[in-house]
Amino acid sequence: MIYCPKCGAGNQDGSRFCAKCGTPIPTTGIRCPVCGTMNPLGNVYCDRCHTRLVPLAISVPEEPEEKPHPVKGLSLPTRPSAGEADWLTQLRYSEEQPAGAEEETETPAAEIPDWLLQLGLVSSSAAKPEEAAGISPFPTRSPEEKFPHGPEWRKGEAAPESAVGEGAPEGIPGFPERYPSEVPEAPPAEQVAPVFPPTELPDWLAELTGVTAPTTPSSGPSPFTEEPLRPAPMEPPPFAPEESAPSAPGGPSVPPVLPEWLTEVAPPAPSGEPEAPSAVPPITLDWLGEGLAAAPPEQIAKTVPPLLLEEETLPGPAPAELPDWLLAARERPETAPHAAPELGGLVPAEIPEWLKPLRPKEVEEAVEEVAESEGLLAGLRGVLPIGRGLDMPTTAARIRPAGPTPAAVARAELLQGLLARPLFQPPEEKSEAPRRAAGWTISRLLVGILLLGAILAPMLVRVPFFGPPVGSGVDQLYAQVEALPPKTPVLLAWEYGPAEAEEMDRVAGPIVVHLLRRGARVLIVSTRPEGPATAAALLHRWIPDSETLMAQVVNLGYQPGGASGVREILSNLGRRTEFLTGAPAADLEIMQGVRSVMDVGMVVLLTAQPDDLRVWVEQVATANPNIPVGAGISARVEPVAGAYLGTGQLRGLIAGWVGGAVYEQRLDTGQGRVYQYYLTSLGLAQLAVAALMILGAAVFLVGGRNK
């Protein structure tokens, strides 16, 4: 399964384009060991899971002997042969177990030599340099545990065996328990017997290397089976010749001389002489090529890998020129036996690009690698980087919180004040009313005495200040009543109560007496509850003759409803009942021929409120505009009534005591002297009030403005 680097969709192996988004899938690149994503060459981190793809450094274990790795020794690829022993076959197969070996590259075999392909496979599957050095650049847990969402092919993959248990730091659970059986404990270095005793090396190899190649293992069980393998030495990568020593084309055409470290792993040369029977099959030199010795130097340069060529042609690079990791690998004599690779038809070729990023870096760079210094991963190098989302600048400037704005402070204070306020304000104890100053009471008392003296003065002394009263509209009303024919129904709207009776009785009395004198039938109605009773009281005082009263006056009572009540009265006079007896008005003789306002000869309004006057005038004008309307009103209603008097809606008007006094003079009911007293008292009281108002205004204007 190949995952698209753009959309992450899974594609079948060998796909060149993503089946989902069509993005070209890089066939040559670096496969992430964690998620399996193919990454372009040059990527340091995986595009998908951000796993570091290129190890930072390769460090040589300082004390490899003290901590031998249980990794089975293997360095160069071998070609299986029919005569190979079972233990060796198992060993080789076990080295090829790491998954992904066959998927490491999709480079066609034609472009890469077989030996290099195998070398790459083996190198990728065998113990890696960093693993051998005890560094675990990648997670050491099994793929199922660490990457449950990884590709399926990785879920069944076994955990890498390379020095997991050894390289894992203490404190990480699972490591000792997970691989105890798989990783046998390595014996001490001094107890490991040499695999190939120098005396057993073939002669040709002994001449080249100075040691004797083992031809036959010593009697007894095989060291590979009885003794645990030594840690695998560092396998020389294919690019090692480029870094270790420059190529030397045109070198002498002498038989190639294998370096010492290579002779250790090289199979025994076919000497043709029968060797002693042994359980270990003889190691062939087929991989070196049969005609290598006789080939010209140019051909050798083309066919022989640079590694071998350089090692053979150069007088021998000094050990100091090789990298440390390579030297360390060379110094390990105890290597597992290898089958010699077959070098038939090899041509020198450059290292493919996909392999170059895998090249380990210099040791100096590894020194710069920062190891974990604390926590459970203390001392561990090459740990996975923290996700990009958590990357934060280490030197970020600390943001100092700004102070609250004045508006925020004001709001906070307001809120605090509201919260501090009790939900329910306890009732304050009633404190004694502030005592008013004695001057205030005295002043009020003086005002009262002044008014009382002005009112009672006419009773005590004669006051010649006021002449005969003059009232507008009185004569018109008098004339209107005089013009009424006898027994004419007159509707009398009694719209005042006891509170206004002191004034209104002096207004209504003369009008009622005049109407009765004229023989009119007086129909009393009211829209105020106290109106009928007030009318009855006035009639009782002003008309002592009960027979006349019963013959000409009928009290039709109270009608609620305001304007609607007035309209009801005007429309249905005949359907009303008498106030005192409750008798139907239609049954009364005085109500004969009277059903509505249309049957009434005149309407007289007796009211002390402006609204009552307006309502009555309006409704009468609406019901019967031609009916004459007169009014006896309080003094306070005079401004309003004057407007209706000017328009002719009121045919006559008596306003207050003045108007009543004038009407009484015209009518001469015997109440003239009382009216004179009243008017004189009223005049004096008005003068007193006017004097007090002027005095108060003067005091206010002079110095009391600020008080």
Partner: protein, 221 residues
């Protein structure tokens, strides 16, 4: 003691109790005030019940009048539900009927009884001349006073600065003049109201004097 004399004595005492307020708030004044309110409400209730028993109930006994009273009685009963918040909506129909009829009657009355007659009374300018210079002055005062009084209640101002200046020029001075007319009108209303109040006071004082004379005469003084 006749009822008139008893009424005169009680009226005199109540009047003195009310007039005691000139010395400040006191229990006598409060007692008289409570008596006045209580009697007024009681009397109004009695009058209403009297009307109910004299007008409505006898009509229910008449088969002819019963039909005419069915709708008013039902509406009246529904109106009683206004006293209970849970069923107050039942009285909405009666309330709507009362308010609607009252508004219609008042509006028609105001239109036909006040607005049209008053507008007609102002009449054209030549009618003012019929009263001579006084009539003309009266007409001008009425016209100018009415217009200025109306402009005195113009509180809106245009947003446009130029229109605002124009508005202030046209409305500002007439508005101030209208306030003068309003003050004169209020002064006149206050004077008439004061006159009515003084009339009541004078009448009460004479009543008290008369009552005291009667009381003293009874005691032989």
């Amino acid at each position: 003691m006749t009822p008139d004399l008893a009424g005169l004595i009680v009226g005199t005492l109540l009047t003195l109790m009310v007039l005691s307020y000139i010395l400040g708030d006191n229990p006598f004044y409060r007692l008289a005030l409570h008596i006045l309110v209580g009697v007024t409400v009681g009397y109004g209730t009695a009058v209403a019940l009297t009307m109910l028993f004299q007008t409505v109930l006898p009509a229910l006994g008449d088969p002819a009048g019963r039909l005419s009273l069915i709708v008013p009685v039902v509406l009246g009963i529904l109106l009683l539900f206004k006293g209970f918040p849970r069923w107050a909506s039942w009285g909405n129909l009666s309330t709507a009927l009362l308010v609607g009829i009252g508004a219609a009657v008042a509006l028609s009355g105001a239109l036909l009884g006040t607005i049209i007659p008053q507008a007609r009374a102002v009449g054209p300018v030549w009618n003012w001349l019929q009263g001579g210079w006084i009539g003309l002055l009266n007409g001008l005062l009425m016209a100018v006073g009415t217009a200025c009084a109306l402009l005195a209640f113009a509180f809106a101002v245009p947003r446009n600065p130029s229109l605002r200046r124009l508005w202030n020029g046209m409305v500002g001075l007439p508005g101030r003049l209208g306030r003068v007319f309003l003050m004169i009108a209020f002064g006149a209303a206050f004077a008439t109201a004061l006159t009515a109040s003084l009339s009541v006071l004078v009448g009460r004082v004479y009543t008290v004097v008369e009552g005291l004379q009667r009381i003293l005469s009874i005691w032989g003084l």
